[in-house]
């Protein structure tokens, strides 16, 4: 069984999600675009997931980068490639 920890990032708008993609790309953070998981409450249908070890750097990059709307990080993991959302927000 292959398990990898990830962080799931949700946004307040599609514009914020796409601006975040630009910022993360410029910051050399690899992300995957996903539909916002049903377990996560969000106003925006676009979410991203990143490797857990990139969470700190991504927080810094996104702190002042998007339109000021909240960016939320959630914990999750990939179980044989299938995304599982954990309950608590990622720290």
């Amino acid at each position: 069984v292959n398990v990898a920890d990830v962080s799931i990032i949700t946004f307040a708008s599609t514009h914020a999600a796409m601006e975040a993609q630009r910022i993360l790309t410029d910051g050399h953070i690899v992300y995957t675009v996903i539909p916002t998981p049903v377990e996560v409450s969000s106003d925006c249908g676009i979410a991203l997931y990143i490797a857990r070890e990139d969470t700190g750097a991504s927080r810094k990059l996104l702190a002042g980068g998007t339109d000021g709307s909240p960016v939320t990080f959630h914990s999750g993991y990939l179980h044989d490639g299938r995304l599982v959302v954990a309950d608590s927000p990622a720290r």
Partner: protein, 201 residues
């Protein structure tokens, strides 16, 4: 003598249920008459799941499907639930992507929607038999790392990724395709016509 059940003109899943009733009653030799080929395929799936042999023949009014055999020793495969009896067989469908985005409007949003569609497809249990990429839909197999990874994963689960060779040539991308089989209109048309369902975005 074989029992004959006239299920012509009856909508799915009625023919399926009538055949299942015979099976449940232990009938090992019966014929179901139907008037459309999807019903024939559904009955064949039922027969296979129940360890029966199904012989389909054309008749003047449609088709007859003869069920013979049927015992636990010959049983193989999972039972077909009635809820899916009217659905195309799993994997017996194709996805057609004629552009590198979903819908019209904001191009960046459209590309994200294409990424999310393929991601969701890959996460699901019902994998298409083929994903067909045409016109600038071929870019999804050439330049987008996420869709290349997703298409690669789908291929690993049994989907064929068919990339239009004419389109690759037109855009000067033939040497840059990262995933899939370079294909042609003959093969692609045949795959579309053979599929029981095509999803086009």
């Amino acid at each position: 003598m074989a029992t004959t059940i006239d299920a012509k003109g009856k909508a799915c899943p009625i023919p399926f249920m009538l055949a299942k009733k015979q099976i449940d009653e232990g009938n090992t030799n019966f014929i179901v008459e139907v008037d459309n080929s999807p019903a024939v395929e559904n009955l064949k799936r039922l027969a296979k799941s129940q360890g029966y042999l199904a012989q389909a023949d054309s008749t003047s009014g449609g088709f007859s499907v003869r069920f013979t055999g049927g015992n636990d020793a010959g049983r193989h495969g999972d039972e077909v639930p009635i809820s899916t009896a009217c659905s195309p067989a799993a994997g017996d469908w194709v996805v057609f992507l004629g552009k590198d985005h979903v819908g019209e409007g904001d191009a960046a949003l459209g590309r994200n929607l294409a990424r999310m569609f393929l991601y969701t497809l890959d996460q699901g249990a019902d994998i298409p038999s083929a994903v067909i990429l045409m016109n600038n839909g071929v870019l999804l197999a050439v330049e987008d790392e996420q869709t290349i990874a997703t298409l690669t994963s789908l291929r690993g689960k049994g989907s064929e990724i068919l990339v239009c060779g004419t389109c690759l040539n037109h855009y000067g991308l033939t040497e840059r395709v990262k995933v899939g089989t370079v294909s042609n209109m003959y093969d692609i048309t045949q795959r579309i016509l053979a599929a029981r369902k095509m999803v086009s975005l």
